[in-house]
């Protein structure tokens, strides 16, 4: 009987800790590793190995410590308006132009002076760039909505949209009604639909009203 318990404890703990090493999310890695470590401590105790028991107890404590740190320390997301001739903006576009053109082949990299450029920042690192200009009355035309490869996920986009909605809501009182954006490749178009744009005609043109933007994203801003 005891052999069976030893078998189950030893192998399940080993499997859990190894699985934890393959997790992309730091949080999930720590949790799984914590559970694996506690089971390993049980195995060590039953097996009669003090080093195995002691080590895994201490490691569980270390894991709890790091988990507490992860839950209390938040990344700082922010948006920053920069003028069209900002030197770092130009460096950024030059560096990522090839990647941008993959899904928006008509983007030349030249930014007209009248554009509004908005950086999305995570701990002062640029993770996204939105470039717009004023279109018809009540319309903002989005020339570019780009996220760097590591942050091309829905959760980051949501974060940026929430921040963005906050500053847009003030512009709504000045007569702003909707945003228009030209689609790109199919992956990009799917993304546009997911964040709230609607296809308005056959010319690959997408639109989102200010109401949609604020109702989808504004309530979540703290």
């Amino acid at each position: 009987m005891e052999e069976h318990i030893l078998f189950i404890l030893g192998w399940s703990a080993s499997a859990l800790v190894i699985i934890s090493l393959f997790m992309k999310s730091m949080m999930r890695m720590r949790w799984i590793s914590l559970v694996g470590g506690i089971i390993y401590a049980g195995y060590g105790l039953l097996f009669g190995s003090m080093p195995l028991f002691g080590y895994n107890i201490l490691r569980a404590i270390v894991n709890v410590h790091f988990l507490r740190k992860l839950y209390t320390k938040r990344d700082l997301f922010d948006i920053l308006h920069v003028p069209a001739d900002d030197a770092y903006l130009l460096c950024f576009i030059k560096a990522f132009l090839k990647d941008i053109q993959k899904f928006k082949p008509d983007f030349s990299g030249v930014i007209p002076e009248s554009s509004y450029c908005i950086f999305a920042l995570r701990n002062a690192q640029v993770v996204g760039l939105v470039i717009t200009h004023n279109g018809l009355e009540g319309e903002i035309v989005v020339d570019l909505d780009y996220a760097v490869p590591q942050y091309r996920d829905f959760k980051s986009a949501q974060f940026v949209m929430e921040k963005y909605a906050h500053s847009i809501s003030r512009m709504a009182s000045h007569g702003l009604k909707y945003f228009t954006i030209t689609g790109g490749n199919s992956e990009y178009n799917k993304f546009l639909l997911r964040i709230g744009y609607e296809l308005i005609d056959g010319n690959n043109l997408y639109r989102m009203s200010v109401e949609t933007l604020t109702s989808r994203y504004l309530n979540n801003v703290h």
Binding site: G10, W11, A13, S14, V17, I18, L21, Y43, F47, S49, M50, P51, L52, G54, Y55, L58, R59, V62, L80, H81, V82, P83, D86, A87, Y88, L89, C91, F92, A95, F96, F119, L121, N123, A124, Q125, V126
Partner: protein, 206 residues
Amino acid sequence: MYIETIGWIASALLLISFFMKKMSDFRWYNLAGSFIYVFYGFLTGSMPVIVFNSVCTILNLYYLYYIYNIKDDYSVCLVDRKETYFRYFLNFYKKDISKLFPLFNESLITEKANSYLVMRNNQPIGIFMLEKESEGELSVILDYVIPSARNSKAGLFIHNKLLKELAKDKVQVVISRIINPIHRKYLERIGYTTSAVNARIIINLR
């Protein structure tokens, strides 16, 4: 009894590894710990310990290979001292900058100063700022790298490539405005000979 000692040594190495800030240090300690644990597994006759630590050993070797063979791409972006993003970055790391360079303050960023954002894989990781002095000297005003990117690769790029390019034919660069012993030690660690005279650090570029 000596079996237990081996187990404790392995445990200690693994525990130490968790407190390493540098990824490569973490991997080295973890490799040593899991490798010794494999022996401990044999000596005590525990199959799970043997298999588990063998897998960890292999994973650590794989990651170490990856760490030492990855090529980071360093570059610079010349910015204007008043520019929005540059100011945001400077302000974001204000506390850390003043901790490392207590003598640095914003009044040093004059019109004559050249400011560079130092980039790794196209993301800014630091600021390098310098100014031409009257007698053909270059004066470094700020030499800052953010904590997560502070390694010898970043330092070597700034100094061996950027600074030598900017200094061109000069053999000496002077740091007078932000002189401090921590920075001097760092300069010596990445391979410079320095001397401090009259509250100035002189870097010999060779």
